[in-house]
């Protein structure tokens, strides 16, 4: 059985008329790295909250269908237990700083303190996590004194250190430069290879194509399409539905109209584009 199992999930925020998620069916295997794409308001964040238990335990509203992670039904669990299995990091790093800690090291240890990890285990775990995301040099800084990209790394590390089975990331690299983005994608890929299941909302198509196993395209709260990154990200359907596409894809698509792109498949990444234009 799949590690994540969403069965006909429909969800409406309180006081709203149209559902933010409609009849979502999604299965994800353990250790799989799935990317979610979609235009603004598509329901990507809502899907993240649903996986992380905040829908419906925090946001209330009406939900139907079933949400299962690691064989546990979300509606039968409580949020404080759910977060032990599922980690969530989201876009705005400033609001993810606990505000209760004075250094990055303490900030990362916050989740371990809350969940009762013994002290002698805590320090090595924090150090290891900081090494993984390459922020060991920030250990003694105040989290508030960091740049947006550094804060996003801290937010990610604060979740990784808790060793969740499922990692849910909502645009975790939005404030990072290309080098930072690549590094973080590398770390996440590594976690997935180590058996962690990853669901990540991301707009940077090239990186998705390079690192993710599968892409799910959301629109108006529904799954429009899903499949291999290259298949989904080069599909006409996305263009018709107003999704952003990689610049290499749009360039090659134009080139194809002029007869300059000979291959059947369109590229998403730079490498694929170079490869295709060579022929």
């Amino acid at each position: 059985m799949a590690f994540i199992n969403l069965n006909n999930v429909t969800y409406k925020y309180p006081l709203t008329k149209t559902p933010a998620l409609q009849n979502i069916n999604l299965q994800v295997n353990e250790g799989e790295f799935v990317a979610i794409v979609g235009p603004n308001g598509a329901g990507k964040s809502t899907l993240c909250y649903t996986l992380a238990g905040f829908v419906p335990h925090f946001f209330k509203g009406e939900i139907s269908g079933t949400v299962e992670v690691a064989g546990i039904d979300s509606s039968k669990s409580t949020l404080d237990k759910w977060v032990l299995n599922v980690g969530l990091a989201f876009q705005n790093p400033f609001n993810q700083i606990s505000g209760a800690k004075y250094t990055v090291f303490e900030e990362i240890a916050f989740g371990l303190e809350n969940t009762g990890v013994p002290r002698d285990e805590m320090k090595p775990r924090v150090e290891e996590a900081m090494k993984l995301t390459d922020i060991s040099n920030l250990a003694d800084r105040s989290p508030y004194s960091l740049s947006g990209g550094q804060q996003q790394r801290v937010a990610l590390t604060s979740i990784l250190v808790m060793r969740p089975k499922l990692l849910v990331l909502d645009e975790p690299t939005s404030q990072m430069d290309p080098i930072g983005t690549r590094e973080v994608f590398g770390v996440i890929r590594k976690m997935a290879e180590g058996g962690m299941t990853v669901v990540m909302v991301e707009h940077k198509m090239e990186w998705i194509a390079n690192f993710a196993d599968r892409v799910v395209a959301l629109k108006d709260g529904q799954v429009l399409m899903e499949g291999k990154p290259n298949e989904v990200l080069t599909s006409e359907l996305l263009v018709e539905n107003g999704f952003g596409v990689s610049r290499y894809t749009s360039t090659a698509r134009e080139a194809k109209k002029q007869g300059l792109w000979k291959k059947e498949k369109l590229p998403v990444t730079l490498d694929e584009a170079v490869e295709g234009f060579k022929k």
């Binding site: 404080d80 371990l112 303190e113 969940t115 808790m162």
Partner: protein
């Protein structure tokens, strides 16, 4: 940038490893004794014989005397002049200015009050300089303070400077759109209104996100919390605490007995 959001300075001193509660009790004890003791010179003696040596023992002299110059001295000076001029006590006029008389009694009274204020602020400053805020919170939580309560206190202390910085940003942004924040009083009152909503509503969304973020990190977990720092509470800590309680009781008893 706000690299230092707390007063705490890390030093290797005899004061730093004391239990945080001991340091609170020490500060409060000094403050209470200085308020209640009936002896005129109590505050002066406390300042010279207790606080100043503690400042050196705690190795925070530079920081303490900086804040003494910038904060404590002006506050104490202001109170001294207010009390000296406007305290209608005593007959022995030693100085006269327009309709104000300064009497020997009012001067003595002002000196006592100003020193008391100095002692109070100093004791508290000493506590802040030598106590790590996170350790304080962990220790108080361990002693039964609800973690939510501890969180509210400590995060407010940290977030206030952030709010202030944000208010400045919003003011700058609104002003660049033609908002008048610098002319007459009434115009300025009127122009504060548009600043309020981004600050408050911005904060509401932030509060929701922050609640999600700390929840995601197990804040409401039912498991017994642990702490990154080992917080020592030795028998000497208990000894100091009880000693201070006794001093405070003696001061109160003396005060009641003599009046």
């Amino acid at each position: 940038m706000h690299e230092r959001l707390s007063f705490f300075v890390k030093r290797d001193s005899a004061l730093h490893p004391l239990n945080p509660l001991t340091k609170i009790v020490l500060a409060l004890g000094i403050i209470l004794v200085s308020i209640f003791s009936p002896w005129y010179w109590t505050s002066h003696v406390l300042l010279l014989v207790v606080i100043v040596p503690l400042v050196f023992i705690g190795k925070v002299a530079t920081e303490y005397f900086t804040s003494a110059l910038r904060l404590i001295l002006p506050a104490a000076g202001f109170i001294f002049f207010m009390q000296a001029f406007f305290q209608p006590i005593g007959q022995t006029v030693i100085f006269n200015f327009w309709f104000l008389d300064i009497t020997q009694e009012s001067l003595l009274f002002a000196f006592r009050i100003a020193t008391r204020i100095t002692v109070m602020i100093s004791a508290f400053t000493l506590f802040l300089l030598t106590t790590h805020p996170s350790e304080l919170m962990s220790d108080l939580t361990r002693r039964g303070l609800p973690p939510q309560f501890a969180y509210v206190i400590i995060s407010t202390l940290q977030i206030l400077p952030q709010m202030q910085a944000k208010a400045q940003t919003i003011i700058a942004a609104q002003r660049s759109r033609g908002l008048d924040t610098e002319s007459t009083f009434f115009k300025r009152i009127g122009s504060v209104v548009p600043l309020v909503s981004p600050l408050v509503f911005g904060s509401l969304v932030e509060v929701e996100e922050r609640a999600i973020a700390i929840e995601a990190r197990g804040f409401t977990s039912k498991k017994a919390k642990t702490s990154l720092y080992e917080i020592s509470d030795r028998s000497s800590d208990k000894f100091i605490r009880w000693g201070l309680v006794i001093f405070v009781i003696i001061s109160i008893v003396l005060k009641l007995w003599l009046s």
